[in-house]
């Protein structure tokens, strides 16, 4: 899109809590983000990675309580940012209590095959807000878009 017009709008999808839908969510959200031509290819890849982490956390949370509700994903294209929200019906958790992984140089690090997801979201999104309670978690992930 090179006309200068910005594709402001939103896409919402509700997916069954099944890992096989992850790829589809990444494809849809990535394609929506790519509509904004100010976002470079590497940043679109960041959006895909972050949404994958958020939906993976949602899938794990719902699996823990066998919740069959759909996971809701919304991608808002705004004039100055892209906001992705992922909402689940898992048991909730305390985002501030997510432990740091052992330093990568230490042998203990190899005992951890998971736990990087929240860290990746916080590193790659301009803002990653996790609002969690007993009825579920909403991850709100913001990517600022600037004119070149």
């Amino acid at each position: 899109m090179s006309s200068g017009a910005r594709p402001v709008g939103s896409v919402e999808i509700a997916v069954p809590p099944v890992p096989e839908y992850l790829q589809m969510v990444r494809a849809i959200v990535g394609a929506a983000a790519a509509l904004d031509d100010r976002l470079q290819a590497g940043r679109v890849a960041d959006v895909r990675l972050v949404v994958s982490e958020a939906v993976t956390n949602a899938l794990r949370a719902q699996a823990a309580v066998q919740a069959a509700d759909p996971i809701l994903v919304r991608c808002d294209l705004r004039s100055d940012r892209i906001v992705v929200e992922v909402a689940d019906h898992g048991p909730g958790f305390d985002p501030s209590a997510v432990p740091d992984l052992p330093k990568v140089e230490t042998p203990e690090r190899l005992r951890h095959e998971s736990g990087l997801g929240v860290s990746l979201m916080r590193q790659l999104a301009d803002s990653a807000v996790l609002d969690s309670g007993p009825d579920g978690t909403v991850a709100k992930l913001t990517f600022v878009v600037r004119d070149a």
């Binding site: 096989e20 982490e53 990568v104 190899l110 005992r111 095959e113 997801g117 860290s119 990746l120």
Partner: protein
């Protein structure tokens, strides 16, 4: 594209060539392949990620788990990862300091005994 894993022998190594997207859906397939190879008593496993289109932290977790399992059996793991978009995810998580990321399978095979 669902994850696919092709196995072949190269010199004294076993190569697992991974195709597709390595996420929560694909991770069990690769994890099972690694567990099966470890049980055979191999000395050097090469994970070829050249044809991996996407990897997230769950996929990285399988690679970390493979290293732990192989080391526990006194075996080596080499990772082939020429694509920058995949290599970058290792780098963001500092795992490029844990794994030597080889450009080709030949490089990884020739590194046997030196990793």
């Amino acid at each position: 594209m669902q994850l696919d894993v092709h196995r072949y022998a190269r010199e004294s190594c076993v190569v697992l060539a991974v195709l597709g997207e390595l996420d929560l859906a694909g991770a069990p397939r690769l994890r099972q392949s690694v567990v099966s190879e470890t049980a055979t008593g191999i000395r050097h496993l090469v994970l070829d990620l050249t044809a991996v289109d996407f990897i997230d932290s769950t996929g990285l977790g399988v690679v970390v788990g493979a290293l732990r399992r192989l080391r526990a059996h006194g075996a080596e793991l080499s990772v082939v990862c020429p694509e920058q978009r995949i290599r970058r995810v290792f780098e963001i998580c500092d795992l490029d300091r844990v794994f030597t990321l080889h450009g080709t399978v030949d490089d990884a095979v020739s590194a046997s005994g030196s990793v």
